[in-house]
């Protein structure tokens, strides 16, 4: 359940940024989570309430942008959709690929008052 560590990381970013902006609390937070990032969104939702309790994020609306996975084959340059980190090139079957998209795990924006 490393999602708790991730949630606490999000809380820390939100606390720091809210203080910097001299705001009181966050009303909305936008996250980016790639499907290859290693985070289960259900698990993140599960730990969310306890992680944000008594922080600036308590009662904030959480919006998650899910970023689809995309890879590029090193051998034949084919670009392809990836659901799993071990997906091979659909064109030539190679396991060597670069991941172009889908590893994202970031706080995109905060709406504060």
């Amino acid at each position: 359940m490393h999602e708790l560590s991730i949630a606490l990381g999000i809380v820390k970013i939100a606390e720091d940024e809210t203080a910097k902006a001299k705001a009181k609390k966050v009303t909305k937070i936008e996250l980016q989570v790639g499907v290859l990032s290693g985070i289960e969104i259900d698990s993140l939702n599960f730990v969310w309430e306890s992680a944000v309790k008594s922080t600036v994020l308590e009662n904030a609306e959480k919006v998650i942008d899910i970023i689809e996975g995309k890879g590029k084959c090193v051998d034949c340059d084919t670009e392809f959709e990836m659901e799993n980190i071990y997906d091979c090139c659909p064109n030539c079957g190679s396991n060597f690929k670069g991941i172009l998209k889908g590893k994202e795990l970031s706080v995109k924006a905060l709406e504060v008052i």
């Binding site: 359940m1 490393h2 708790l4 560590s5 991730i6 949630a7 606490l8 990381g9 999000i10 809380v11 820390k12 970013i13 940024e17 902006a21 705001a23 009303t27 996250l31 290693g38 969104i41 939702n45 730990v47 969310w48 309430e49 306890s50 992680a51 309790k53 308590e58 009662n59 609306e61 959480k62 919006v63 998650i64 942008d65 899910i66 970023i67 689809e68 799993n84 980190i85 071990y86 091979c88 396991n95 060597f96 795990l105 970031s106 706080v107 995109k108 924006a109 905060l110 709406e111 504060v112 008052i113």
Partner: protein
């Protein structure tokens, strides 16, 4: 940090101890069940296009564009650890596996056989107990135990604190035995030179694709308990093929830490790190 509520109470925070040091527990830590809140998680699916939002509102709220990696804190401290190891010519290994793969046995055997040739230091990560640190201490190898409490993995700040206590000499090998868990430790860089995933022949050949993130981020794969191959229904080649599907650059060592079979190749690699 407390794994139940995420609070930073002293009792539930990670404990970083030398064998023989005592833990001081102050009071109790309670979790109260309070009123239930409900979250409004909305899921947006991106289809690749970039869209801009109009963030003007009629009340006095404002939008802060952050674009910050959530793991950034861990990565910054990991980079600090890595720089320290490089400056001291310390080859740091992060040993990861599921519980029961024989991580500690591989480590004990390695230390017993090589400690007269190479100076070793060890950081042990477990949720509870000093057991592993005591085993290493019995071999006269300097060791620090990190008890993560409810935490399921080591993070770079814990390693940073443990390293400060170790007071390492130059030109040595640091073995960091992570918490037994094939999922969570994969996301947390500790500043190691190489990541070593250990899997045993009793675990089933498809484990690399069941837990791909760990195999994806590792450099070395030790297949342990090969002495049990006659008794278990596992095809080692198939296991390797699955692992290579996840990570084509993975390098393998097939060993039995109990009988010592295959350990020499691993030792040769340790002595001349590629």
């Amino acid at each position: 940090m407390c794994g139940t509520c995420g609070c930073g109470s002293e009792n539930n925070g990670p404990k970083i101890l030398k064998p023989g040091e005592h833990k001081h527990v102050h009071g109790d830590h309670h979790h109260h069940q309070e009123g239930h809140a409900h979250s409004h998680a909305t899921h947006h699916h991106h289809d690749g296009h970039v869209h801009t939002h109009d963030h003007s509102h009629d009340h006095k709220s404002k939008v802060l564009i952050i674009e910050q990696d959530i793991l950034q804190n861990n990565q910054v401290l990991a980079a600090r650890n890595r720089g320290y190891f490089e400056a001291k010519n310390i080859f740091a290994l992060n040993l990861v596996s599921s519980p029961g793969s024989g991580k500690t046995t591989v480590l004990e055997r390695t230390l017993t056989d090589l400690k007269d040739q190479i100076p070793f230091y060890v950081i042990e990560g477990d949720q509870q107990t000093m057991n592993d640190a005591n085993k290493i201490d019995a071999l006269n190898v300097p060791v620090i135990q990190i008890n993560t409490g409810k935490g399921c993995h080591l993070e770079s700040d814990m390693v940073f604190e443990a390293v400060k206590k170790l007071e390492m000499q130059n030109n040595a090998i640091l073995m960091i035995e992570n918490v037994g868990n094939l999922v969570c430790p994969s996301m947390f860089d500790l500043g190691e030179s190489k990541r070593v995933v250990i899997i045993s022949t009793t675990e089933g050949e498809d484990k690399p694709i069941k837990y791909p993130d760990m195999f994806h981020t590792s450099d070395i794969c030790i297949i342990n308990k090969i002495d049990l191959l006659p008794y278990v229904n596992v095809n080692v080649q198939k296991l390797k093929d699955y692992a290579l599907k996840v990570n084509p650059k993975l390098q393998f060592f097939e060993v039995s830490a109990t009988t010592g079979e295959g350990m020499q190749a691993w030792y040769d690699w340790l002595k001349i790190p590629s």
